[in-house]
Amino acid sequence: MTASADVTAALQGKFPQIAPRASGDHPAINVPLAEAPAVLKSLRDEHGFDFLVDVTAADWGVDASPRFTVFWHLFSTKSSAYLRVAADCTSDAEPVAPTVCDLWPAANWHERETYDLLGIIFSKHPDLRRILMWDGYPYHPLRKDFPLAGIDTPLPDLEVGEITKATAKPAPMMGGPFVASSGEMNLTDAEPSAKDESWTERRVKPASE
């Protein structure tokens, strides 16, 4: 752990805005979003963190500000140390983050996935397309305002949808994950059959706009 404290201290000399981040395990730092590529480059070239494990993001909720935080996990193939780098997105409505594809080609797909599922736009990304959902899918499913039951959307193939009049319907949520909440409420609300009952066999599923 001392070696990682050294890394933070050394980085702070070059980038004074870096602050340590609370973490349950590996050392972690907060960086301003604009400086993230420079910090990551410095970590790669000067501190031996040559392996980009993961790029991801978290949505802190519709009302939170900053709403989105981007995470990079780095690993050193030499010292086997991990480091977590986090940066808050400045815009809550249209989160934008700088790409690190030029530092690690591995970031390409990770950033596409983060864009796909959380809607974070990686500026200057060479090929920012959806990767897990289909092209033209209108939502970002890992955002907190997206319901677990899903939202009725047109089929990926519009021609087929036009002829069959079918839409992409996920499975109903009845019998889904069981989670109860405490507090002064009646039993039906406290112990629903599924956590997300926005669409059940009794209640019609919300249609897309």
Binding site: S23, V53, D54, T77
Partner: protein, 411 residues
Amino acid sequence: MATEHVFSDSAAKVASAAPAEFETEKMSVAMGPSHPSTHGVLRLQLELDGETVTHCDPVLGYLHRGDEKIAENMTYNQFVPYTDRLDYLAPLANNVAYAIAVEKLANLKVPPRCEAIRVICCELARISSHLLGLGAFAMDTGAWTVFMYQFTEREKLYKLFEELTGARFTTSYTRIGGISRDMPAGWSDRVLAFCDQFLPILDEMLEMLTRNKIFMDRTVGVGIITKADAIAYGLTGPNARGSGVTVDLRKDRPYSGYEQYEFDVPVGVTGDSYDRYLCRGEEMKQSVRIVRQAVKNMPSGAWFAEDARKIFAPRKDKVLTSMEELINNFMIVTEGPQMPAGEVYFEAENPKGALGFFIISKGGGVPYRMKIRSPSFCNLSILPKVCQNNLLSDVVAILGSLDFVMGECDR
């Protein structure tokens, strides 16, 4: 009749004399999503110039089930069955990786016996996964026999898994803080018996391929990944080690007591498909070594962390006799385990590579955000680069040598 001869003769002459004058155009081919060599539902959008691949664009997501969204909506133990379905060729290893990640968040230490059983599970899962990878790879390059041999061996492993966990395939064996049950009586002897008979058969299987002219022609020098590329593209597991990257999390970041076991990490030199095959073959032998040591030095005692009983699963016999335990059980079942807030990341050396779980907890019974870092996803991201300028038939060999599984890739 004579004129016909002249005609065909001259046509052949024209073709051989001036092939450059023929107009060619690139062809777009969709390989998959239901192609036998894509091992699941991967689609490669290929652009071909004759038989040479000029551009490769992998299309993923056919098996996307939204596991990360689902994880945000259920308690920690409820998610264990979903981990089975990540890398469905090594569910036991996924169970263990997930359990250790959550235990890290909960600050739990599992007893040594539990750790040793988990190591046996991981290594047997590694053998099972590598066997299928090997068999499918051999079949893709034209060797049927190995495929049949390895399924016989995997069947024996599945019998062992069934005896241990109650399920052959979707094991859901771990619980946060332990495992669902102890080893049945005599199980470890049967594991040793499997190891004893497995090694000669493994040698026989590898003998069929290692110096096989056809297999070598198809794999040696095909799909070379340099060491620098392997690191830059985030490759892990045998795919990275085949390229000479000496990273094995079991050695470098030992978890679950891996530091007690003696084993070697095979590393390739050239990084071609053949090296990746050799690494997998040797890793199975090393897995047998680890399993034997773990069985031999199996600690006695508890196989479930006592602290975890307060958070996740009180003893059932106490629940039915003691009021306090009954209330505790009720709270855990209805509200979920009460976990500390925090951010943890843990990755384990799974058969396919480093499977990581990044858990953000705000306290309470469900994770606020859980990111699954899947090795197959990262390993596949190098495909556009490796397939470029290779023959179409070599793409099949490269896919086989990368040994990915789409359940994990698409999550």
